[in-house]
Amino acid sequence: MIVNSLGRELPETIGNYVVRPYQGAYATPASTDTVVTKRTMGHRIPGDTKLLGSLKEAIVASGLKDGMTISFHHSFREGDMIIGQVLTSIRELGIKGLRFAPSAVVNIKNPSIVDFVKDGTIDRIEASGIRGQLGDAVLAGEMKNPVILRTHGARPRAIEAGELQIDVAFIGASAADDYGNCTGCVGPNACGSLGYSFVDAHNAGCVIVVTDNLVDYPCAPASISQQYVDYVVKVDQIGDPDKIGKGAARLTKNPRDLMIAERTVDLIAASRRFKEGFSFQTGAGAIPIAITKYLADRMREKGVKASFALGGIPAAIIDMYDEGLVRVVECSQSFDSVAARAIADRPGVIEIDNADYANAYSKGGFLNREDFGVLGALEVDTDFNVNILTGSSGEMMGGLGGGPDVAGGAAISIVTIPIIRGRTPSIVKRVFTLCTPGETVAAVVTEAGVALNPKHKNYQELKEDLEQTSLKLVTIEELQQLAESMTGVPKPIETTDRVACIVEYRDGTVIDVIREVKR
């Protein structure tokens, strides 16, 4: 057993996986190696066609064999219908033992990924999170190989480092021409930014574009260009339009969430970094949407404009852009139909590569320039470590997402969380699964008060700035004690020794593992 610098016990190897233990958020220097790619130089003479008649044809043409690695992006979220169709075709071709490496969490139902695990089509998974039936199955020991979980930023790093090599990438697009120029920004099932699939398009051995909307050549705009694409397939439906094209989320009515949102904005507005040209990201969810609206109010009041908003973008941020409160919107993902369509018709709303957003091991991306980043969490402990993967009974609930990246890059990272959810304490002594290291978390905002992390690099400035306000500053220990005094002391979750999931940090080191829960 080895122990990483956060005190988490890790086996030295897990199957074929050699553990490099986490040693600090900025411990791993830049690599001097060139990037690894499986992209081959192609050669198409005029008259060649890339458009194939079916998914099965494309899969055969790609040369996919047992044991290879396939990837998908998650930009269609719960409305995705491509993954199910592709896996079904793969199964019908009798191909087995594949590594499934989507760009994030995938929670499709009917069919469920579990079905393909159970029948051996898939035998290993590398993603950002696994949920529902699949999560339960993995934690019950139904996957022989441990799942590798990576943040949004860690995935492109792993690909370029050659640790995750994709043989065939299936890229769903809401509009594509027959030569592979494609985009998610226009079309009946527009999902918006395809930023998560760029690294796949540039580095996979074979790239197959799947669309339900074949447009005249050339497709414009094009988010992914034809020169990266091997084949194009048209299917009847790439997704459920209601789920892909859902409308803007409404402001929550929950007074507790509104209060947390207001406190967060009070914190941001009190910071010396809240000035003309500042940058921020808020993310998706009830509290983030409320934060976005309150932040807009405050910016209007003080006459402050932002240089950029970053990351996953909801309609609320497009509204800010339209009002002139934000100069540029750097969009790695679109959360609703308003945001999805904004990229095509607003010059300052830009589709960006996820790697440009979150990869710490590039020549420097947006997060390094961000002032304020808001993160959600399932649990936070008294060292400010964050858990966004496992719930109170050890079940898989979330996904790593970009949280650890935002915390690692943003100047002021803010975790918003209620101190209890029902009877579950969210501020605990030790998180069950460590995803985001405490040293990168500047503040925790709850309904019971705001706790600043004395070990964060910007603690001094934040403390000075907040002491001028009437914000209720408390210690993280006080929050934990209050939570525990309400819920009682929970019985710890018992696990076996078998590692079900490996949690990698931005640099590919292992920050924690998730072991099987004892039944």
Partner: protein
Amino acid sequence: MAKGELMRTSMYAGGTSPVKMIQAGFYNEDCLVYDLEDSVSAGEKDAARFLVYNAVKYQRPKDKYILIRVNGIYSKELDEDLEAAVRAQPDAIRIPKVEYASEVVKIDEKITAIEKKAGLPVGGIQLWCNIESYLGVLNAQEIATASPRVAAMALGAEDFTASMSAQRTKPGWEIFYARNAILMACRAAGISAQDAVFSDINDNEGLEKDLEMTRALGFDGKTCVHPRQIDKVNACFTPSQKEIRNAQRVLEALEEAARNHTGVCTLDGGMVDKPMELRARTTLAKAEAAGIKFGGVVR
């Protein structure tokens, strides 16, 4: 006990919903009222009593003034409500629809009897009287002084206007007299005067206008009907930076006069008299209690 006995805002939490009762503990209201009366249906009065008793006894929010509103004086629930409420030991019991001093005396005696049986300090629990009818308004003076337990009176505008066959409006002229009558009775008795709720939670401008009246008339606090009103109402009773600065100047002038042994203290060409000094100290006390930071505090 509340921090510095601030009573700027009170918020009801119905005794039927655990989640609302728990969440209410986190808002910024000074006073939290667990309710056994109007928010609880007849069939659930017993359940509410158990919930409220256990909440106040075992999960009491710190830093708040805690009240339990019992059912009406003539209700069949009152006696059992008091048995539970007194033993839970809140800061105060809030009585709905008070009309006569004799009603207050009767409840005072019942509470005393229970305090004695339960071995609790007699007189420890205060009373807030809700005035919700014209009789209550007419008898406000005697109600306010009916018992040393009475710490506040509050106007219940909806029921009051109903009793008057009047119409409840946003400008509020129909409750103008009632507001003042209660205020004056409170001043005479030296107790806290609590203004009625502004019930349209979506009308921010309307709330601001109503608060202008609340503040001008001199109320000490106001009942909120929804958490999103709490911060605005607290602000209404919280001195502004300008008022704080002026109060500091008054006290600085007094200190200087004392240091230089000058008999009379002047500021801006006028004399600083006792009422000014009192107002200045009250302003700074309110500001400090509200958590406002200001440097160079003069005591």
